[in-house]
């Protein structure tokens, strides 16, 4: 049992570090932070990763993945986090990608996989509805067969970045008989189709990430259905598994903790450094220990998969603990910013408040309240673990 790197892994670490330093420039980081340039800058960044062959690193090698070991994947995400660089927007490469190569037909794979990998398609996720949140199978958006098309009517909600999306992967009801899970199909929908309306939902961080997407007699070719009709729940559940492991957020937690430590070393309190305050140290330590245990929980899961085993039931804990950790980090960040975190952005607010990070701390805390809700709320996660993990 050891956590050491081989010489080859150290070379890889150096390669990733140099790439991140050279390619993730301050200028690009600034454009990604700004809502007006976010989409374009994010695609630019993802295309750089793709050019290096790393964008879809978790995919099978025959589809352009890297075939990395658990160690290499952990080196990659660590170096990315330390450089402050964002990972790819997950909906395409991390969520629908695996569904496409696992369940898509040859034509669908050829049409969508290369374009998804190259970030030429921006995907959004059509799962939740006003009446179907944690109880996802209660979804009502109807798809009625009409020749070679389905005609879609209904509403999806909480759709992250739908305003930027070219395509949506969407769960629709194709049968109202029997168990709710039995009548669901998985469709790929072109967001430029007539009848689609995207309406913004402003979240408590005052930003526009979320949307409501309504469908009024939208025609979708049957050829855009993944797998069999009424079997969509199977594919959707597989996707949720990919989504949950992608949601542990270890890299984000480590990067933000590093920022908190740096800021706390410069922050003054009663004339001394905040980082020297024993109470602050104790709070920081509590969160850092939680994040280290999350990191090793994830490494244990990855390592088990590397050794040819299936991830055990500890993998189901990753989303649950990961979201708890993200919120713990964000709460600490907010506490660090103290009253300056409450200053709303203005033209010169940074000079007024004296704290460049107060605004960021507030936004991340506010947006982070969603982490224990999306991808299946943590209460639902506990139900799932109780049933399938503990056999209750």
């Amino acid at each position: 049992m050891h956590a050491k790197f081989t010489p080859e892994e150290r070379v890889f670490q150096q390669e990733v570090r140099e790439f991140m330093t050279n390619e993730f420039t301050d200028e690009l980081a600034a454009r990604i932070r700004h809502p007006d340039s976010f989409r374009e800058a994010m695609i630019e960044w993802q295309k750089k990763l793709d050019a290096k062959g790393w964008a879809a690193n978790g995919w099978p090698v025959e589809h352009g993945g890297c075939g990395w070991s658990a160690t290499k994947r952990s080196i990659y995400s660590n170096e990315m986090a330390l450089a402050g660089a964002p990972d790819v927007v997950p909906m395409g490469i991390k969520m629908v990608g695996p569904v496409l190569y696992s369940f898509g037909n040859e034509e669908q794979k050829a049409r969508f996989l290369p374009a998804t990998k190259a970030s030429d398609i921006w995907w959004c996720q059509g799962y939740s509805e006003p009446g179907a949140g944690s109880d996802l199978a209660a979804l009502q958006t109807r798809a009625v067969r009409d020749g070679d098309d389905y005609i879609i009517n209904g509403t999806k909600i909480w759709t992250t970045y739908a305003q930027y999306a070219d395509w949506m992967f969407c769960l629709v009801r194709t049968n109202t008989e029997g168990k709710p899970q039995a009548g669901i199909s998985f469709l790929l929908i072109d967001m430029t189709s007539p009848g689609i309306t995207v309406s913004p939902i402003i979240s408590i961080d005052d930003e526009h990430h979320l949307n409501e997407v309504s469908f009024s007699d939208v025609r979708v070719p049957v050829a855009n259905r993944i797998g069999e009709e009424n079997e969509g729940w199977t594919y959707a559940k597989a996707l949720l598994t990919y989504e949950r492991t992608a949601l542990s957020g270890v890299g984000y937690c480590k990067r933000t903790l590093q920022r908190i430590r740096d800021y706390a070393a410069n922050e003054r309190q009663g004339g001394g450094r905040l980082i020297d305050d024993p109470d602050f140290q104790a709070r920081l330590a509590d969160v850092e220990m939680e994040v280290t245990s999350l990191e090793y929980l994830e490494l244990r899961v990855l390592n088990a998969v590397d050794k040819g085993g299936a991830p055990g039931m500890e993998s189901s804990l990753l989303k649950l603990k990961g979201s708890d950790c993200q919120q713990a980090v964000q709460t600490l960040y907010w506490n660090l910013a103290a009253a300056y975190g409450g200053v709303l952005p203005g033209d010169d607010h940074q000079n007024v408040s004296g704290h460049a990070y107060g605004d960021q701390a507030r936004r991340e805390y506010m947006f982070g309240r969603a982490t224990t809700i999306y991808g299946g709320s943590n209460e639902v996660q506990r139900n799932i673990i109780a049933k399938f993990g503990l056999g209750l």
């Binding site: 330590a285 280290t292 088990a304």
Partner: protein, 370 residues
């Protein structure tokens, strides 16, 4: 990076689990609590015959050259069954100080009987004023007639069956380590019963005379800290084994205990609490893996990794045990049910070698110092 066990390690784990399953039912354990020194001398001989006592010693010293991972495998299995035999005290504390001190004559004299199961050991480090600090030592060692004279008092020394004590004592401005036979006329022992069923003792040293060779190291603080750190990891492995048992036993109990016409495990309020017990256990196991790698790799962050583990095990070990008692209801507070015994052991592990607060402070000092 590789967290898997080797074939030999897996075999060791299997044989330990087999021993615990066949020899450590709650009834069998209850009998041992009333044995002299509160453990089984027969089991100890079995350990010797199976080679378990030789695990962490080098081949030159008569061992099999195991490391921290093997020690953790032993202690995790022992934790599941609340095994009472003093493996940590004799093998990992006393034995490892002897093996690493560089004092060949003492190692030669004592390691062979220790590995053969004929010698019990203890580490006498704690004093009334030191609480959890290894370096704060008022027991004094003075040179006399080419040898040493020790005076002072050590408290809460684990393993009352010890024939050999490793004693830390101040000499000048350093902390020396001494091998003190328990039958030295300058040694007075007073046995104490502990809540986890074990026997400890207070040790008074009154003009305790030792020959020069009984000084293991004149400046031994670093060795002491290293051996205690590794034993701390092993204790945490024991705790993880106990936590693993507790959440599983609680889940099983909730499937059979019926109230309001159904198994209590069907109630969501209880299901979520059991999921949290499982999560806390896996978190502690994850930091155990981190600390095992850190010690094996001789990592720069070994101090903070061990203290993070001990701090988390201290808090979450007790939390999981308290939840187990609660979910077992009235049965959970009976002496008859073994759940409460796990709580007591996890409470004692928390306060051994520094509790959760002590180790969080040590983590902060290692990580955030200017």
């Amino acid at each position: 990076m590789d967290f898997s066990l080797s074939e030999e390690q897996q075999l060791l784990k299997d044989s330990l689990e087999k021993f615990v399953a066949s020899e450590y039912s709650p009834t069998q354990r209850e009998k041992l609590l009333h044995a002299p020194a509160a453990f089984s001398a027969d089991h100890w001989q079995t350990f010797a015959e199976l080679g378990w006592l030789s695990i962490p010693f080098s081949e030159e010293q008569g061992g099999i050259g195991g490391g921290i991972v093997e020690s953790a495998i032993v202690m995790e299995a022992f934790g599941r069954g609340l095994v009472l035999e003093p493996f940590v005290d004799t093998v990992l504390l006393c034995g490892q100080v002897l093996a690493r001190s560089g004092n060949a004559s003492m190692a030669e004299q004592y390691l062979e009987p220790l590995i053969a199961g004929e010698l019990q050991g203890a580490l006498a480090w704690q004093e009334r004023q030191s609480r959890s600090s290894l370096e704060h030592c008022e027991t004094e060692a003075k040179r006399q007639d080419g040898g040493w004279l020790l005076n002072g008092e050590k408290v809460l020394v684990s393993n009352a069956a010890a024939n050999l004590l490793i004693v830390s004592a101040k000499q000048g401005d350093q902390v020396g380590l001494f091998a003190v036979p328990a039958d030295n006329p300058g040694v007075t022992l007073q046995t104490l019963k502990l809540m986890d069923g074990r026997d400890a003792m207070n040790v008074t040293l009154t003009d305790c005379q030792l020959t020069a060779e009984h000084c293991l190291q004149e400046a031994g603080l670093q060795l002491l800290q290293q051996v205690v750190d590794e034993a701390t990891v092993a204790l945490c492995a024991e705790a993880v084994g106990a936590m693993d048992y507790l959440y599983q036993a609680t889940v099983e109990y909730s499937k059979t205990r019926k109230q309001f016409g159904q198994p209590i495990g069907k109630f969501q309020a209880l299901q979520h609490r059991m999921v949290d017990m499982f999560m806390l256990t896996e978190q502690c196991r994850s930091l155990l893996v981190c600390a095992l790698c850190s010690v094996s790799d001789n990592s720069e962050t070994v101090t903070e990794d061990i203290s993070a583990l001990k701090a988390m095990v201290g808090r979450y070990g007790r939390q999981v045990a308290e939840e187990a008692v609660q979910l077992h209801g009235g049965m959970g507070v009976t002496h008859e049910m073994n759940i409460g015994h796990y709580l007591k052991r996890l409470m004692m592990i928390d306060v051994t070698f520094g509790d959760a607060d002590f180790h969080r402070r040590r983590y902060c000092n290692a990580r955030y110092a200017a």
